[in-house]
C-alpha cells in the first residue's frame, strides 16, 4: 500500500506533476515528510499541500472493518475457527482452540526443556489430514541450530497417531510435507523468508516454525543498536507474513542469565522503595529470555517452558485471551504430555520467571556428553551438549580453554548465551 505511485492516485494534474518533478514518487516518499517540509520542497502553498496529502492519505490508508465483520469472516473462511490445536487439552482450552492463525507464538525456555519437541509435534499436527484433526497442509521448518531430528519426528508420529502412521506410505507422505530449511546467517534467513512469502499461498503451507530465532540473531557479529535494528526488520516482516497468509507462526527463543537480583524498574518505583543497602551484594543469577523487551512486545502469545524442582511446566506467560496458567508436563515417546489439564493460575512476577532446576542424576551423563563434543566445533553441537551439562564451573573453564585456543570467533554467539547457572 505504501509504495503506491502518486501519479496513479488521480490527483489534479498540476500538483501531481510537481510531486513527480521533485522526485516524490511513492506515497511513502510523501508521507515521510512533514507538511511544512513538503511545502518548502514543492514550493506550493499550505492549502494545496494539505489537500493533496489528505487525498494521498485516503488512498493509502488501510480499509476499515467492523469487529463483527472480522469475526464472521474468520468463522466462515477458516477451518477450526483459525486455530491449530496442540492436542494438549488444557492448553487448547485456555487458548480458545490452539495456536491462533495470523499471529506470532513464542516458545521460550532453557536448553533441553522440550521446545524442539513441541515444534516437532506441531509440525506433525499441521500436516495431518483434516479428518484426523490436522490442517492438511505443508509445513516450513526453519532449523537454525540443526536440531531437527527426522527420526524423532517419525517416532512421535507413530506413537501419537498409530492409526495413520501404520498405514503404508502415510508416514512418508506426512513427513514429506515438512520442509526443513537450514539458514546459517540472518541474511540467508531473510532471503529464504522472501522465497517463502511467494510460495506460502500457492503451496498450501499451513505452519511456519523458526527454531530458534535467538540463535539466528545472537549469532550475528554486530551487537547493540544495529542488531536491534536487524531484528526489528525481521520481526515486522514475519508479522506481516503471518497476517496476510493467515497461518500460525511459531518461534523459539533461548535464555540467558541475568546477573544480580535487581529486576528492571521504572524510575518512579525506585524512589518509592527502600534501598537495599544493608543486603550484601548478591550475585544470584536468574534466567531471562535471550531476546529482549522489544522482541517480547512483538509476540502475541508467549509460552514459557521451565522446570521447577524436577517437574517441567509449560506456562502461558502472555496471551490476549487467557489468564496466566501453568501446566505440568512430561516428555514421553509420543512428545509432550500434560499431566494435568487444569492449569494452576499464576500471579505477579512468577508469570515471567524462567526456572531451570534439573534433577541431579542427569549431571554425570551431561558432562560425559560435553567432553565428547568438546572438539567438534560446530555451533549446533555445542548447544546440544549444553542442553545436558549443568555445572557452570566446569563449563566455563572448558569454554575458556577453547576460546583461548581457537580464537574467539566460533564462540561469539555463545558468549551471549547463558551458562546454566541457576542450580
Amino acid at each position: 500500500m505504501a509504495n503506491k505511485l502518486i501519479n496513479q492516485m488521480a490527483l489534479p494534474k498540476s500538483i501531481a506533476n510537481i510531486f513527480a518533478a521533485r522526485n516524490i514518487i511513492t506515497a511513502k516518499d510523501a508521507l515521510s515528510l512533514t507538511e511544512f517540509e513538503l511545502m518548502e520542497l514543492l514550493d506550493v502553498g499550505m492549502a494545496e499541500v494539505t489537500s493533496a496529502m489528505a487525498h494521498i492519505s485516503e488512498v493509502v490508508c488501510p480499509p476499515c472493518q467492523t469487529a463483527l465483520l472480522l469475526m464472521e469472516q474468520r468463522v466462515r473462511n477458516e477451518s477450526l475457527a483459525g486455530h491449530l490445536p496442540t492436542r494438549l487439552k488444557g492448553l487448547d482450552e485456555a487458548l480458545c482452540g490452539g495456536i491462533p492463525f495470523g499471529v506470532l507464538t513464542e516458545l521460550v525456555g532453557p536448553p533441553g526443556i522440550g521446545k524442539t519437541q513441541f515444534c516437532l509435534k506441531l509440525s506433525l499436527l499441521a500436516s495431518l489430514p483434516v479428518n484426523c484433526g490436522g490442517l492438511d497442509g505443508r509445513v516450513i521448518y526453519i532449523d537454525v541450530e540443526s536440531k531437527f531430528s527426522s527420526k524423532r519426528l517419525i517416532e512421535i508420529g507413530t506413537k501419537s497417531f498409530p492409526e495413520i502412521f501404520h498405514k503404508k506410505g502415510m508416514a512418508q507422505e506426512m513427513a514429506g510435507r515438512i520442509r526443513i530449511l537450514r539458514p546459517t546467517s540472518l541474511s540467508e534467513f531473510a532471503e529464504s523468508l522472501q522465497r517463502i512469502k511467494v510460495s506460502l499461498l500457492q503451496q498450501q503451507v499451513k505452519l511456519l516454525i523458526v527454531d530458534s530465532m535467538a540463535a539466528l540473531v545472537l549469532g550475528e557479529h554486530d551487537c547493540g543498536a544495529s542488531r536491534q535494528q536487524a531484528l526489528g526488520w525481521h520481526v515486522s516482516f514475519i508479522k506481516s507474513l503471518a497476517e496476510f497468509s493467515r497461518i500460525p507462526i511459531v518461534l523459539t527463543n533461548q535464555v540467558r542469565s541475568h546477573i544480580g537480583d535487581e529486576s528492571l524498574m521504572y524510575s518512579f518505583q525506585a524512589q518509592s522503595r527502600p534501598t537495599k543497602e544493608d543486603n550484601p551484594v548478591t550475585f544470584d543469577s536468574h534466567l531471562v529470555a535471550a531476546l529482549g523487551i522489544n522482541w517480547a512486545h512483538a509476540v502475541t502469545i508467549r509460552l514459557v517452558l521451565e522446570s521447577r524442582s524436577g517437574q517441567r511446566f509449560i506456562k502461558l506467560a502472555k496471551s490476549p485471551m487467557s489468564p496466566p496458567l501453568a501446566f505440568p508436563f512430561n516428555i514421553t515417546s509420543s512428545g509432550i504430555v500434560l499431566l494435568d489439564d487444569d492449569g494452576i493460575e499464576m500471579k505477579g512476577p512468577e508469570i515471567n520467571t524462567i526456572h531451570c532446576q534439573v534433577k541431579r542424576e542427569k549431571l554425570d551423563f551431561g558432562l560425559l556428553v560435553h567432553f565428547s563434543n568438546l572438539f567438534s566445533f560446530t555451533y549446533s553441537k555445542q548447544t546440544k551438549s549444553s542442553q545436558k551439562s549443568t555445572r557452570t564451573g566446569t563449563r566455563k573453564k572448558l569454554r575458556w580453554e577453547t576460546e583461548t585456543g581457537m580464537g574467539g570467533n566460533i564462540w561469539r554467539g555463545d558468549r551471549e548465551l547463558a551458562p546454566l547457572t541457576s542450580l
Binding site: 489528505a54 469487529a67 482450552e93 509476540v299
Partner: protein
C-alpha cells in the same frame, strides 16, 4: 503583520519580498493586475495571494476592535464549565477510575504503557467496549475506532468482554428497577462488535496516512467517541534509521491526534511499549519513543507489576495528582483487583 507569515509558497514569498512588499498593509492596496506585473506571476496567482492576504489581515484587525483580547480561544471560566460536564469513559476498574477522576477523559490524549503481557491490549479492548455503554447506564453510547499496528487484536476476546459488559449492565438494571421487564438490556454482543471500527496498519506510512484520514472518517461517523492506537510505537521502532525524522513525524502525528480529540470531543488512547534506558549507572525501564515524545500526550499512565498485583501509575497529568491503583485482568475484562479472588477459572 509581515509577508513571511502568509501560507503561500516559498518562491512567491521571495518574489513579493524582492518587489518590496514586506507588510500586509502594502499588499492590501494593490490591484491583482498591478501585483501580477510587479512580481511576474499570472493574474490568477496574484488574485490568490491577495485573497490569502486579505483573509489574514481581517483576522488581524478584528483582534483590536473586539471586546475579547484575541479572537478564537476560550476563557478559563468557559473551559471550566465545559469540563465539568465533559464525559468520561469508565475502565471497569473502580480503583483505576478513582485515580483518573472518573475514567478516561474525552478531549484528551492519554498514553498507556507497560511491559509485555501487563494488559495494555486488554485495557484497549475494554475501553472500546465500554465507550458503547448507553447513556441510561451512565455511559457515552458512542462508537470506537481501534487501530491495530501489532496484530494483537483478538475478536474472540472482544466478544468475551462484550458479553461480560452486557451481563453487568443487566445486573445493574435489575438492581435499580425491580420491574426489569421495561428496563431489560436490549443490547446484543454482536451490536457491540459492529460498533468497533477496526483498522489494521502494516507500516508507519500507513499509520501516518490513517491519522491524516481519520479527520474525514470521524466527520462521517460523528458518534465515534474513542480512538485507540495499539500500539503507537511498533512500526516507528522498526523501520527507522533517521531518528530526527522519526521525531518530526511523531510530533506531527501527535499534534493531529490532539486536534482530533479537541475538535470532535473524543478520547484518544495511545498504547506504548517500554524500553530500557541507562540512567545513572543502572538500567531502568521507561516508555519507548524517547524524551521529546513524552511531551506529546496529555496524560501518561504506566502499568507495572507491584509484587503480585498489576498496578497503574499516573506518571504525568496536568489535572490529576500522581497516584497508583491496583487492577486485574480477568476473563471478564479489566476489573478491581480485590474481586480477582472470585474469578471464574476458564476450564
Amino acid at each position: 503583520m509581515e509577508i513571511g507569515m502568509l501560507p503561500i509558497s516559498a518562491s512567491k514569498r521571495g518574489k513579493l519580498l524582492a518587489a518590496g512588499y514586506t507588510t500586509l498593509h502594502s499588499i492590501a492596496r494593490t490591484s491583482p493586475t498591478h501585483l501580477a506585473r510587479d512580481i511576474e506571476v499570472s493574474e490568477s496567482e496574484a488574485l490568490e495571494i491577495l485573497n490569502v492576504a486579505t483573509r489574514t489581515s481581517t483576522l488581524d484587525r478584528s483582534c483590536g476592535s473586539n471586546t475579547n483580547i484575541i479572537d478564537g480561544g476560550q476563557t478559563a471560566w468557559d473551559m471550566f464549565n465545559e469540563e465539568r460536564f465533559s464525559s468520561l469513559i469508565t475502565t471497569s476498574c473502580v480503583d483505576l477510575d478513582n485515580i483518573l477522576g472518573g475514567g478516561i477523559n474525552c478531549k484528551e490524549v492519554t498514553e498507556i504503557g507497560g511491559v509485555p503481557g501487563i494488559g495494555k491490549t486488554q485495557i484497549g479492548i475494554q475501553l472500546a467496549v465500554n465507550v458503547q455503554i448507553p447513556l441510561e447506564y451512565g455511559g457515552l453510547g458512542g462508537k470506537a475506532i481501534y487501530i491495530d499496528t501489532e496484530g494483537s487484536f483478538m475478536v474472540e476476546r472482544v466478544l468475551q468482554i462484550a458479553e461480560a459488559c452486557i451481563e453487568d449492565m443487566s445486573e445493574y438494571s435489575h438492581h435499580f428497577h425491580k420491574d426489569n421487564q421495561a428496563y431489560g438490556v436490549k443490547m446484543h454482543p454482536n451490536s457491540i462488535l459492529e460498533n468497533i471500527f477496526y483498522f489494521r496498519v502494516c507500516s508507519y506510512t500507513e499509520q501516518i496516512a490513517l491519522v491524516n484520514y481519520l479527520d474525514k472518517f470521524v466527520t462521517e461517523h460523528k458518534d465515534v467517541k474513542i480512538i485507540i492506537i495499539d500500539s503507537v510505537t511498533f512500526h516507528f521502532r522498526q523501520d527507522f534509521d533517521d531518528m530526527a525524522l522519526r521525531t518530526r513525524l511523531l510530533g506531527e502525528m501527535s499534534l493531529k491526534l490532539m486536534k482530533l480529540a479537541r475538535n470532535f470531543c473524543l478520547a484518544v488512547v495511545m498504547l506504548n511499549q517500554v524500553t530500557t534506558k541507562h540512567i545513572e549507572g543502572s538500567f531502568q525501564l521507561t516508555l519507548a519513543l524517547g524524551d521529546s515524545w513524552s511531551h506529546s500526550c496529555t496524560n501518561r499512565i504506566i502499568l507495572y507489576w507491584n509484587g503480585n498485583e498489576r498496578h497503574a501509575y499516573i506518571d504525568k497529568s496536568p489535572s490529576l495528582k500522581s497516584a497508583s491503583a491496583p487492577y486485574s485482568v480477568t476473563s471478564r475484562g479489566i476489573r478491581n483487583s480485590t474481586s480477582s479472588s472470585k474469578r471464574i477459572k476458564m476450564v
